[in-house]
């Protein structure tokens, strides 16, 4: 018996494909939601509680604490407390049975210190330096008055330090020359420095004199200098709008502050800056190289075995593990080229290396090497799309090959070139492995850009968001704040890639619209 029709099984294929796509989108949405929720929790204002905890030895301890979860729902609770002896926050995991929630009679304030830790306290009082005996209850007006005073003192201190630096340098040169003629001037400078130092000390005492006094849950009175406090909030007494503004402040601090508590708290500004600078430098390095190589391969190179092999190598370069690039960059750029440069140009500072150590330039070069195949392949794709007729037409109008490439080929290929740039940027922004070897560090003392000539210091080490996340993984076991800082960094990284991608996509769209030849 012959089959009259072929059974149609295509629905199986369709269902398989559809479920694969559905799973993929679920995974993607899950990833983004996870990072979003975890990351945003870094900016949430948590409630504070007044608790009595029984520890494993049976001692009753009183704490003001931050409660990270809902006390009605869970049995195991996470509490953040402050220890004044160690001056550190500690995270406690306590079972429901061991906690007694006590009524909050006085508002519990959270003092955000500028070293990244938080003090939970009540009964705030303020003490001015001018009248040490006058201690007044905390009020917003008194607080902002003292803030103004602190600001003025700090400005004065800064200008003092600025005038001290050249004087100190002058003193050092006098000591070296040591002639009698200079002796009088030496004494004079010395006196000047001494008087300035005395002034500075006075200012510092004044600054330390402005204090904030508080009480812990067990009633112990304590105090710290007010300048150490970034800002303070009463987390339980905030309205909805105030909560939002505190969160906004936290987001701003996250973007503009330095990391604190060994990258477990504070902000990520140096890392954000480092990442953007690295990506920028890498783009400057990789685009001309990639586009020129693609131009050569596509427009000038003869079609023979050599170019075929070259193309294959370039395409396969994209598959080499990133760590190999890191090792290569360290071996060639840092150890060979960097050391040689040091011997030629910076021999007076040897043996301390200038370019002979991992730094921004080498990291950018390594990343450029890593992303080069992406740019070349994508540019070549664009070049191949330029119709032969247009090239001939330009030549027939008296254009040289160079003019033809500049005026016809590159504009038409520009969307693809931009695509190559996008892919390169997205890869460079997220890649961590090679950076650990060639210049990114967990914590850099200075930014690679400052107001000192030559303004951008390519030999300096820098911080990178990806490396910060990598570092955060080791901290994330300790406290919720620290792990959410890591996720907030992840979130920022994702946002950067999305923003860069959409900017480039928009550019690509505009170029495509302008140079559409069909």
């Amino acid at each position: 018996m012959t089959k009259l029709y072929k059974p149609d099984n295509s629905f199986i294929t369709i269902n398989l494909a559809a479920s694969a796509a559905a799973m993929l989108s679920l995974a993607l949405i899950g990833l983004i939601m996870f990072v979003l929720i975890k990351g945003l929790s870094y900016f949430i204002v948590y409630p504070t509680v007044n608790v009595q905890i029984t520890d494993k030895h049976g001692n009753a301890l009183e704490y003001y604490a931050q409660l990270y979860d809902d006390k009605e729902v869970q049995e195991e609770h996470v509490l953040l407390v402050y220890h004044p002896n160690t001056q550190k926050n500690q995270q406690l995991f306590v079972h429901d049975d061991n906690i007694i929630y006590r009524p909050i009679i006085h508002p519990i304030w959270t003092l955000h210190l500028n070293d990244g830790s938080k003090i939970f306290a009540s009964h705030l009082t303020l003490q001015s330096s001018s009248e040490p005996n006058k201690i007044e209850r905390y009020s917003r007006a008194a607080y902002s008055d003292l803030r103004d005073e602190i600001y003025q003192l700090q400005t004065q201190l800064r200008t003092l330090t600025k005038t001290l630096i050249p004087l100190n340098i002058e003193l050092a040169t006098f000591t070296e020359s040591g002639s009698m003629k200079d002796k009088i001037r030496y004494e004079k400078t010395h006196m000047q420095i001494m008087s300035l130092m005395a002034q500075k000390q006075q200012l510092e005492t004044q600054l330390n004199g402005i204090q904030i006094h508080y009480q812990q849950a067990d009633g112990t009175p304590l105090s710290i200098p007010l300048y150490q406090v970034d800002y303070l909030i009463d987390s339980n007494g905030l309205s909805w709008l105030e909560r939002m503004s505190v969160s906004a402040l936290k987001i701003w601090n996250f973007m503009s502050d330095d990391p604190k508590q060994s990258n477990a708290s504070g902000g990520v500004f140096p890392a954000l800056f480092g990442t953007l600078l690295l990506v920028f430098l890498m783009t400057i390095l990789v685009m001309p190289f990639g586009v020129l190589t693609a131009l050569y391969l596509n427009e000038f190179a003869p079609y023979n075995y050599f170019t075929i092999i070259l193309r294959t190598i370039i395409t396969n370069l994209a598959g080499i593990p990133a760590i190999v690039y890191g090792v290569f960059g360290l071996g060639l750029f840092v150890f060979v080229i960097g050391t040689t440069l040091d011997q030629w140009l910076y021999s007076d500072t040897l043996p301390s290396p200038t370019f002979g150590a991992p730094g921004l330039l080498w990291a950018a070069l390594t990343m450029a090497l890593l992303t080069l195949p992406v740019v070349i392949v994508s540019t070549e794709e664009g070049l191949r799309q330029v119709p032969e007729g247009l090239k001939k037409g330009a030549m027939a109008l008296g254009a040289t090959k160079f003019e033809m490439i500049i005026k016809i080929v590159l504009p038409i290929a520009s969307p693809s070139i931009v695509t190559g740039g996008i892919l390169a940027i997205a890869r460079a922004a997220g890649e961590v492995t090679p950076l650990l070897l060639v210049g990114a560090v967990m914590s850099a003392p200075v930014l690679p850009v400052d107001n000192e000539f030559p303004f951008i210091h390519l030999e300096r080490q820098f911080m990178h968001l990806g490396v910060l996340v990598f570092d955060g993984v080791f901290h994330s076991q300790t406290t919720i704040d620290e792990s959410s800082m890591m996720f907030a960094t992840c979130l920022l990284l994702i946002l950067i890639v999305i923003v860069l991608n959409s900017m480039a996509s928009w550019l690509r769209y505009r170029l495509k619209k302008q140079y559409d030849w069909q």
């Binding site: 247009l390 001939k392 037409g393 330009a394 027939a396 109008l397 008296g398 254009a399 040289t400 016809i408």
Partner: protein, 267 residues
């Protein structure tokens, strides 16, 4: 049809000053294959010369020889001389870019650049970097008028050239070449991609252009060659078989191969 009323000087009676292009024993090898074999022909000035022949016989290569476009193919070998204005354009010291501004070319497929109409026509002039904006504007207007396109595009000069129809695009290509005021205009099957009405337009245009330009045209359409060209060359397998005024070639071909071709016996 004015086939029999046309007056053309017979080729043999041409004086040297009436000759625009003088090709002397030109041979072209592309990719190690002989495409043109020892071709000699004199192309009269201010006339339309058609080159006909089968596909792959070397018509286009002959046309490309006159502005050295064959050199875009990496593997080429060209011998012989092509004289224009008492200069051998095949000489290795000839400025090819300048030659190509002097010898305009229009291709089979309209190939407007992805720019505006204005930029397309001004492309060649801008490359020379010696004209003021005003001169360029004037030259563009003149070229568009000569190409019979001015009335249709004068209000949308700064719109993309892609919005024009096929026939308009081809006239734009002619205007683009004319903007450089070439002495010779090479047309490579200019109407084969166009509909009959657009073809008629282009043909009329060519008749008016020959007042101040020498036109050399490759065509597959023998009626077209007979209709508009003053002289016709028949090329077969890289050799110039017959070259004379169109009237004689189409009415009394001297060679058997020519007769076979124009009567349609070669497929």
């Amino acid at each position: 049809m004015n086939l029999f009323s046309r007056k053309t000087t017979p080729l043999k009676k041409l004086t040297p000053e009436n000759i625009a292009v003088n090709i002397e024993s030109l041979s072209v090898e592309l990719n190690n294959k002989v495409v043109l074999d020892n071709i000699s022909m004199r192309i009269p000035a201010y006339s339309i010369t058609s080159i006909i022949g089968q596909s792959g016989c070397g018509k286009t290569t002959l046309l490309n020889s006159m502005n050295r476009m064959n050199e875009l193919i990496t593997d080429h070998k060209i011998t012989g001389h092509i004289w224009m204005d008492k200069r051998d354009i095949n000489h290795k010291r000839e400025n090819v870019a300048r030659l190509r501004t002097n010898v305009g070319m229009v291709f089979q497929q309209p190939n407007p650049f992805p720019m505006t109409i204005y930029e397309n026509v001004g492309f060649g002039l801008k490359l020379q970097q010696q004209y003021s904006r005003r001169q360029i504007d004037d030259a563009i207007e003149k070229a568009l008028i000569n190409a019979g396109l001015w009335d249709e595009v004068k209000d949308r000069l700064h719109e993309p050239a892609m919005i024009l129809s096929g026939g308009q695009q081809q006239r734009l290509m002619i205007a683009r070449a004319l903007a450089l005021k070439p002495q010779i205009l090479l047309l490579d099957e200019p109407t084969s991609a166009l509909d009959p009405l657009a073809t008629l337009f282009i043909e009329e245009l060519m008749q008016s252009l020959k007042q101040h330009t020498t036109i050399v045209m490759v065509t597959h359409n023998m009626q077209q060659a007979a209709r508009i060209s003053d002289y016709t060359a028949f090329i077969h397998k890289g050799e110039l078989i017959e070259y004379t005024d169109s009237d004689s070639l189409f009415t009394q071909p001297k060679h058997k191969q020519t007769e076979d071709y124009i009567t349609g016996r070669y497929g």
